[in-house]
Symmetry: C2
Subunit: 203 residues, 2 copies
């Protein structure tokens, strides 16, 4: 289909189609959109923002999330509760927890999960850094918020064991599994219902 496409538009479309959630057709639509204005200021502005972020965004020394200073805004916020550390896989997951407005503690971003297939072991997810972090006297609880997939569960289990061994005094918890908000019971999968039953609480 794209045989009459100019080489630069084709290369740009291909690069865009490798981004998450963008298929070949949307990639082509975005490429045409970026080149549609006469002055191409939107394209240049976007290129500049990507370059600028790639140059300046780094990892928080304490929690590993993406930020622009030595410490991220959460770690340097004196109003956060410093006795809790929520362990997430990615900055995107951290944003979801922040969006819930139900957590005021600190974070630790693994940058992935244990994966034998992708050759990612404890070192790649910064386990040592996390264990060092738990040495701080103030830490009372570690909340494991890795995904509820086989690899996410294995990662949580591994971290829980390591924490119990090195810091036996710290409480280690995992996010609750159960029925999602606003969902009819009828349409919930059986595994979720099983977890919701096992985790039932006083009404």
């Amino acid at each position: 289909m794209a045989n009459s496409l100019s080489p630069r538009i084709r290369k740009l479309s291909e690069a865009l189609s490798r981004l998450p959630g963008i298929g070949p057709l949307s990639a082509q639509r975005i490429a045409f959109h970026l080149l549609s204005g006469e002055d191409r200021s939107e394209a240049r502005e976007l290129a500049h923002l990507i370059e600028d972020a790639a140059d300046s965004v780094r990892h928080c020394e304490l929690c590993n999330t993406l930020c622009e200073d030595t410490l991220c805004s959460t770690c340097s916020d004196p109003k956060r509760e410093r006795d809790k550390i929520c362990v997430v896989e990615s900055p995107a997951d951290q944003q979801v927890i922040e969006g819930s407005l139900a957590y005021r503690g600190l974070y630790f971003v693994l940058g992935g999960r244990l994966s034998p297939v992708e050759d990612r072991g404890p070192e790649e997810i910064g386990l040592e850094k996390l264990m060092k972090r738990l040495e701080a006297e103030e830490v009372k609880e570690v909340i494991l918020a890795t995904s509820f997939t086989a690899e996410g569960d294995a990662t949580a289990h591994y971290i829980a064991l390591a924490a119990a061994r090195h810091h036996p005094g710290i409480r280690v918890t995992r996010l609750a599994r159960g029925i999602p908000a606003g969902i009819e019971l009828e349409y919930t999968d059986v595994a979720t219902v099983a977890h919701a039953l096992l985790g039932r609480r006083e009404a």
Copy 2:
């Protein structure tokens, strides 16, 4: 939700969310994706491709589509039928016609459609350039392939009138309206069925 996001990631997400088909959440996901690799080569490569395309892609002198030379690959292809010109709104629409493999003629890309609301008149869609193009002796037919919306229809109508006035010898046609391929009659809207009935052909 994005209150703890670093300013550069926030700005990049905002710019990405202005691209067609990308909402705020996918924009944030793409921004995190671009900044996830340690060396950020994917981000830098994408910035470079956008910049490079913005610098080098221009409009074909003959048909107005996006290309990198004076003439686009279609206009300079000696195997294309030079007696037909298909008028489309955008390079993306041109790609769809090319994808059909049912057309071997040339093109003219308007770069939009007539729109009183958006203050786009005949000059903005290059009508004069198109009329000049029709002066070439070889042109026998103009196929109007603007969208079947109110504005697209008005644009086609306007071009048809101008062509009839300035080049009465040239045949002016419009894409057929009718039932789309692979669609059950039962699920087709009445306007489309009406057009299919009016445009019926010998079986």
